[in-house]
Symmetry: C2
Subunit: 469 residues, 2 copies
């Protein structure tokens, strides 16, 4: 996995010469133009800036870049829109960024088979919009859908708000065109919803954070837009009561399309930023959506169950009114960002452990004197504890400036997630930020196995080294 | 992937000595007792019989068997109930069968988190029954559920009748305990419904047909039993009209839990075996089930759409009456087995290509003068063309006795499936029977990559050699 020879400036010169010879001028940036491609949205910075950026417009550009980088053992960092939160697309000195944002065509959209074939740089919301013309949608909906790419979503196996009912990105991907580290193209999966020929490389590539191959096209499954959507908002005295209410809904077979749970501190931060008075209404807010043919009946059942538990419950089938109710969730992160530098964590636990997880988060915050605000995709047990650091540390946006107390609080939260039967990362990926805890979750034998799999794809270790594993 | 040294009788003696020393006597069979473990239900036979059968009762037995087999380079064939249809569990001379059917405990069943942890030898229907005590079910429902094991279902990524709505086995598996070829245990995945730490080895092992690791426990997702189920039966003049009706249902956003389509020859075979007169009612029968809170409304919509297309439509919410309607599907295979030796094929195509696939199947049958009967999981494009050979060839149940015309017809069907954007196998696996067509689907580069992945798990190639890849 380690690079087998030191890279010298001769190597870099040779690579740049080869790329200049074999790629159109518009497909290559070098020098100061590469700076914007050094980081994603994780708030962490690598050392230095990339050697070059290849702006691939065709699969051939991807193949050319990889073939030369492979021959010269130079690291390549694939990149979509750079909206990742774990450092997975960070690219430091001596790397080549493979920018896929210009490969942004919807190649095929078949409303009868309910599938689309897209290039990796298609913005997720644009695919959804294209599907919408046929009454269909692309179900995975990470909060970044308006700015992130389908390829990036696949690389991180992105989640979102409607996963509990509609699954994560992996569940929507039927097949991939990808280029291996040495430039060889492969096509995994198929256009069918079922198929078991060979190992499931489609699933293996999904979530591999650009370390196994570079995705050049994806065949994805579309779904009908639900007939109806009903939104319910319920305030609780405590987060624990809200979490218990979600468990009660699950036990009553309510299958919400969305179940977002915000804690009291998040409500207070929204109030402070927006001039609302959410916090006065309760210590936690549950935002629920039921959809499909039985949306109304399911929402009515949910409201009956919530009435005995919540401080207040309101419901609407009107989109504008729903939008008003959902504003608190939409504004949560921007409101927290006003308070300081945010570190967005992303643990998942078995659904019934939601309240226990929040107790652990609160204890970690107190133990290390760190401000932590939490919202959760409650129906699938995925929590986002947001550490808010003082502005004093926020200027450089460098992980080296993160106080040790914050690392310790994050470490305590990860340890608790694993103890509760959960995971370090529900949907954002390991990137660079969570690597130090990776072996705690995988165990050494599986970690070694994963490295052997990496070597089977990428023997020289050029693809996004230092990430994910 | 090839075995690195010839195995001699000394090697076999050494292995038997080690197994006798390190396993309880009840966990080891040798000699004539191994004969029943030589074949699955594919109708194909390997050369000879296995050297020994290890009847594992604990993970330790699995580890012990693998450690010795790995050291001595002796092939190991993992086996559940032996109900596979592709030769994946066939075990010839010089192999050790690792029988997992005695590891059949439900280790945990958590109705709140809606998950179960089971040993691999648990019969699929028994897991479903155990879940049923809590109003839950295990969604994957291969036709073999009453006799096949969860471990075998995972090894083949088994499908079934309700996949279009509820997904295949892979969609129900959250995590696995497995033992690698050298005896090392690993734990993949987790107890949460979301999680992206490391590569998705859970999905990679699912469908790997025992060639990568031996599953010793599985954490699976359970789902609520639907509130209601409504069954619809519709007869059509032709299979093509039935297939078009299923496309029309999909376009109208009907999401059936089951959509089985039987062709006229299958109906005739059922009539001949059961004394019914289904064939007189049409040239194809569509059996539909809608379930959940909106089952009745969805079934009513389906019936309205079918009335204009079908020769006749009937519907029921009564379980006994539904059972009567579904009898034709249940009796299809037994009825065909009375006519001769059956070869069960298993292609999948994009849903809109169902009618085209049946035209190709019919053409292949005529071209090679082979009798082919077809039924389909229509909502996910998965067809089972059943080749029925003369009884004259059926006595030995050896693939060497399959007439060349049948191989050619099967080959034509596979080629057509790939041309239509489909796959060689929707849910049964490659096993030994479909290996000759494998590279046609994967392409040489992906095939080579899959072999490198195999080597990363199993460097001496001892796990189920000659299968799947």
């Amino acid at each position: 996995m380690t690079l087998t020879q030191p890279r010298t400036s001769d190597t870099f010169d040779a690579l740049l010469t080869a790329l200049r010879r074999d790629l159109p001028a518009a497909a290559l940036s070098t020098g100061p133009q590469t700076a914007p491609y050094a980081t994603d949205r994780s708030g962490s910075h690598p050392d230095g800036e990339p050697l070059a950026v290849v702006h691939a417009a065709h699969t051939d550009h991807v193949r050319t870049a990889l073939r030369h980088a492979h021959a010269l053992r130079v690291p390549v960092v694939p990149r979509g829109a750079g909206t990742g939160l774990s450092g997975g697309a960070n690219a430091g000195a001596g790397t080549v960024v493979l920018d896929l944002s210009r490969m942004n065509r919807v190649l095929d959209l078949d409303p009868h088979d309910q599938i689309a074939v897209v290039e990796p740089g298609v913005i997720t919301a644009e695919l959804d919009r294209a599907a919408g013309e046929f009454g269909l949608r692309y179900a995975p909906d990470p909060a970044s859908a308006a700015i992130s790419t389908v390829g990036g979503n696949i690389a991180t196996n992105a989640g979102g708000l409607r996963c509990a009912k509609y699954g994560v990105t992996r569940d929507a991907v039927l097949g991939l065109d990808a280029v291996l580290a040495d430039g060889t193209p492969v096509r995994t999966g198929r256009r069918t919803v079922k198929g078991v020929t060979g190992y499931d490389l489609t699933a293996l590539l999904t979530g591999s954070e650009g370390t196994l191959a570079v995705i050049t096209a994806a065949t994805v499954r579309l779904r009908p837009v639900p007939e109806a959507t009903v939104t319910v908002a319920a305030y609780f005295d405590t987060f624990a009561e809200g979490a218990e209410a979600v468990s009660a809904l699950t036990a009553a077979r309510v299958e919400p399309a969305m179940a977002e749970l915000l804690d009291g501190p998040v409500l207070g931060a929204v109030d402070e930023a927006q001039g609302t008075d959410l916090r006065s209404r309760g210590g936690a807010l549950l935002l629920l959506q039921c959809d499909g043919r039985s949306a109304q009946a399911e929402a009515e059942l949910a409201v009956r169950l919530l009435r005995g538990r919540a401080a207040s419950v309101e419901t609407t089938a009107d989109p504008a009114e729903a939008d008003r109710l959902l504003a608190a969730r939409r504004l949560a992160l921007p409101s927290l960002e006003r308070l300081g530098r945010v570190l967005i964590e992303d643990i998942a636990v078995p659904r019934t452990q939601l309240a226990a997880a929040v107790r652990e988060i609160t204890a970690a915050a107190e133990r290390h004197d760190v401000r932590i605000f939490t919202f959760a995709h409650a129906a699938d047990g995925n929590l986002h504890p947001i550490l808010v650091l003082d502005h004093a540390t926020a200027d450089t946006a460098d992980t080296a400036d993160i106080p040790e107390a914050a690392w310790q609080a994050a470490g305590d939260i990860f340890t608790a997630a694993l103890r509760l039967g959960g995971t370090l990362t529900g949907e954002h990926g390991v990137g660079t930020l969570k690597r130090r805890w990776l072996t705690d979750e995988l165990g050494p034998a599986q970690h070694a196995l994963q490295q052997r799999i990496k070597a089977a794809f990428d023997p020289h270790g050029i693809l996004n080294p230092g990430k994910a594993l």
